[in-house]
Symmetry: D2
Subunit: 353 residues, 4 copies
Amino acid sequence: MAGNSFGNIFKLTTFGESHGVAIGGIIDGCPPGIQLDFDAIQNEMNRRKPGQSNIVTQRKEPDTVEFLSGIFEGQTTGTPIGFVIKNTNQKSKDYSHIKDVYRPSHADYTYEKKYGVRDYRGGGRSSARETASRVVAGAIAKQFLSAIQINAYTSSVGDIFLERPYQELDFSKTESNAVRCPDEATAEQMITKIKEIKKEGNTIGGTVTCVLQNVPIGLGEPVFDKLHAELGKAMLSINAVKGFEYGSGFCGARMKGTEHNDLFNEDGTTKTNLSGGIQGGISNGMDIYFRVAFKPVATVIQKQDALNSSGDIIEMQGKGRHDPCVVPRAIPIVEAMAALVIADFYLLNKMYN
Amino acid sequence: MAGNSFGNIFKLTTFGESHGVAIGGIIDGCPPGIQLDFDAIQNEMNRRKPGQSNIVTQRKEPDTVEFLSGIFEGQTTGTPIGFVIKNTNQKSKDYSHIKDVYRPSHADYTYEKKYGVRDYRGGGRSSARETASRVVAGAIAKQFLSAIQINAYTSSVGDIFLERPYQELDFSKTESNAVRCPDEATAEQMITKIKEIKKEGNTIGGTVTCVLQNVPIGLGEPVFDKLHAELGKAMLSINAVKGFEYGSGFCGARMKGTEHNDLFNEDGTTKTNLSGGIQGGISNGMDIYFRVAFKPVATVIQKQDALNSSGDIIEMQGKGRHDPCVVPRAIPIVEAMAALVIADFYLLNKMYN
Amino acid sequence: MAGNSFGNIFKLTTFGESHGVAIGGIIDGCPPGIQLDFDAIQNEMNRRKPGQSNIVTQRKEPDTVEFLSGIFEGQTTGTPIGFVIKNTNQKSKDYSHIKDVYRPSHADYTYEKKYGVRDYRGGGRSSARETASRVVAGAIAKQFLSAIQINAYTSSVGDIFLERPYQELDFSKTESNAVRCPDEATAEQMITKIKEIKKEGNTIGGTVTCVLQNVPIGLGEPVFDKLHAELGKAMLSINAVKGFEYGSGFCGARMKGTEHNDLFNEDGTTKTNLSGGIQGGISNGMDIYFRVAFKPVATVIQKQDALNSSGDIIEMQGKGRHDPCVVPRAIPIVEAMAALVIADFYLLNKMYN
Amino acid sequence: MAGNSFGNIFKLTTFGESHGVAIGGIIDGCPPGIQLDFDAIQNEMNRRKPGQSNIVTQRKEPDTVEFLSGIFEGQTTGTPIGFVIKNTNQKSKDYSHIKDVYRPSHADYTYEKKYGVRDYRGGGRSSARETASRVVAGAIAKQFLSAIQINAYTSSVGDIFLERPYQELDFSKTESNAVRCPDEATAEQMITKIKEIKKEGNTIGGTVTCVLQNVPIGLGEPVFDKLHAELGKAMLSINAVKGFEYGSGFCGARMKGTEHNDLFNEDGTTKTNLSGGIQGGISNGMDIYFRVAFKPVATVIQKQDALNSSGDIIEMQGKGRHDPCVVPRAIPIVEAMAALVIADFYLLNKMYN
């Protein structure tokens, strides 16, 4: 109820503040008998971690995950997988200046009003550091779903858009550049843009596109828990996300029925895929694709007005080591959340067979 | 788990196919002591029902809700509210031609593959008829939340956009025209457009904008169950929805941090509201607003190829009485789902105080 | 949360007060493709209904269940099964004398204090009439679980105990007498006892034993949701239940380890079964058996002191047509709840295979 | 779903095997602003831990709990409380002899059949070591519920029963002896009995009685989630529990209505309390009391037949340091689970006020 769990069958519960001792979580409902590739898990962590390139925050956090249970001789046992990630680089002093301050477009004010108390250091629970735990669980879900391909990539940074459709892209190139855009030329423009923005002490938004391939037919529940509704919730639960669309998305709202309908082939596949691989909330075996909008990071390295707890407007200067654009590091998080949604529906669907 | 429930504390479970005996639901967790206005509930039903104007489907369904429990002497008692809405105008014969046919961009194919069996009459469970039950529950949630204003309206039909921001609109005019756009001039254009489309035997998409005012500070849970994540899921669970954005939405992804941040006033309100009334997943007391994209209805009154269960492509001719544009009738559904989300978080939040 | 649902995968939600228009429920998560035997369902209803013999209440209620959805051409479709049972014999006037009165050992007082309002007619929501909806769902669960035998019977009435162990009984005789005890001689004693008690205008408690045979190995979740923990909750949720024990039960607490341990046969079965078919919360393939204690019905047809809402002790005379002993009619309810627990775990377990 | 969580609002999820790196859990939904007494938490851990007296297992485990999140400056913040307890004294070698062996009346066989794999060391997840995490959460729940008294005590060991009703006992004496029976004379008999049993290399069962005082009126949900149904499930989820009864319990099944009914006083209290403080599933303000049956520990230090994974019956000799009677160490676990149930309903009930 308090909203720190995701999923029903394959279920992740997370804990931890950015500047506490550790963050971590429990994965409950992971099937037994999965031989885990721990390097692959750590690799996902590395894709998310700070300091990996010169266009992301320069904080250094090793983000090593330690598993405490649910794994025996390298294999999942069906019992809950507990894990922790130590917070090694907390630098709490960096945040003493915001103890009594509500930064604009941060969660400081709403947490204070909701709970009456908050761990103000580095955003506490509202920090995107929490998403490291999601990446751990998502990495395990990916291994469980090894037949399904889940590929996210940066599809825009500010006004620089990757115009090519996903079908033309080579996803193996996503990791070949710091911005995680599989089109080299566009990637370069994006990187240049982010460097400019960083130099200004400013930040910039962007979008992530994610493609799921080889998803079995039949996943998703037809009424409230439609497959795209859960994917949407999953994405909107990631820090800084402002929008979600799948298939034709907002463009679909401008189209006519005869343009939008996906005609069938005899094998049940469709000639077009404006539906985005989902009909009536249930996967139809075609590629699932969706797009997620991220706002610019709220912490800018410029002077800005903030509110303090006495009700005064004060000028503050953003400090610390923040991301000029959250999108490159969000790629593995988007993939992780997609994997969690699919794993959950995949297991649920076994009851129908 | 099978996805026919929505909400945790204020919880709706629905049942029913479009051409069965009846549809209905159970509202569990509605607080006791609410004196219900049954005319207001029926009024919401009338806003959604077919046949209300010449730009919606001409099916006639009275859509009268019958309450079976949970209400005593006009007042909620805190026990579950069971209700049914009879299906009076089923015309099952209209649908015999689709018994073995999978219509393009409908849920016929995915239901058949998921369940191995389906009630093919009129879409069965995948029909938007199910949303009538949501409107009942939403109408009660609205009465519970009487201090909060929830106003949705048509913000685009095809390429005709209502360009004015919501702050300039008079929501009392939404009901004054058939398309439910509170700007008269734009409404006329939209109506003309829908009539054209209808004449073609075609359909058209559109968007709905929804504004929530006077929402208390503190609603929403900070991690997975962010207020906007639940609103997003709620909207994406409505038939034909392809996208959701709140606050700055997809536009926010093109902005810089210094442009996007909402600076505070001394009283905790903000000078701008690109955040859309939510910070870190929690309401901040400002207006909450979001936009929902609806695809064009898949049933067109033209010849189209479909697939039959033997794997043949056959030509079919859409029949029946369908909506040329789903958006006008979707307005009360969007409001109902928003009310359900808010009611749920409102009750959950009482536990913190 | 408000406690009107049972189960996770195979989930029942009920609604309805004893003297409202109707009671009913929604079964969500019933697998598709089950060809239903409607006579068998009605037969379970008849086992529970009032007026079936001269040792139960003489109220007449046909208790005919009407299905509204989720079934097509006699088969479940995987969509929610909505159903209603009309309240045909409400005689509200019988209850006007208790409008402002809290009867001893009834739920009148606690409902009033919890909700501030209540439907005082015939116990309202706290009436055992609600269990009719459980019997409907249980009857469907039994058909889903057709390979499993679920047999409950009356094992004591007051001080008259059926001393023979269940292994010696012929369950086909349970329905051959009004008290539902498969041992004829003991049944006669029990019936005589109940008739005596009835003549006094008094009531008497008793116990029900239930045996589940052919339950697959592996059902139940090992920590909080142990199979016997859910069975216990299920039974304790039935009106008038005061205790639950399985396997050796309270007697087991007097034994030594060497006496209590069930030694294995080579095929994994055990030579004894003090464990009651469950080890570590998980079924082991042996018979599951448990015992449920029912208190005497609180409504007696004698003068008794009660409390009124003004805080006065008043003398009241129980009226109406009440059961002198609840146990005979509880048999199908115990079986229904057991079936719901097993169906739920059965489906959940498919996710591990 | 996989059963490692307990509670809805105040929710505990646990992880960990007896011989893994650590056990632990996440408490989600604990209200903010509770100033924690960490010594009191550790004190509860000490009551449960091995090696505390000469009638319990002589294993040495410090059982120090380390909190990782959700607490700031000694106060709960409303965010999830993550905690770990290191397994310091694992002695895995003790268990190598049971690698391929299913011990009688243990969970070895059912885990293997359910999951296909298991951590065989010391019972793994089925070990009662898991309950240490419950005691942590229960200790916090107790502090949240500081106005409510929760007192459990040993009410029988084998055939030695504490005959005095709880009203005559001084709960402050429970901790004054190793068996946790507040009656000194009975305690001595129990201790003597356990020492005898231990000398035999055998084990013995027993019962725990628990009394909850000052519980507010109105806790519990009336249909499936009755207060006593959740208490029953909570207790039955504890290792080795075979039965649960509250109020008059199984004795109530032998009584007449006129004997069993609790007549009111003018202030709404009752003259007797056979109901056990709960009417219709809802607390009525009177003392809540219940009794829990524990079987004898299955590990005996004698030769016994077991089954191996090849299907052979083999003789094995129990080793290790096991409890001759689980009851004394179960006292804090029973109290912890009771506290979790009450905390959950207490928070849920706030929505009605």
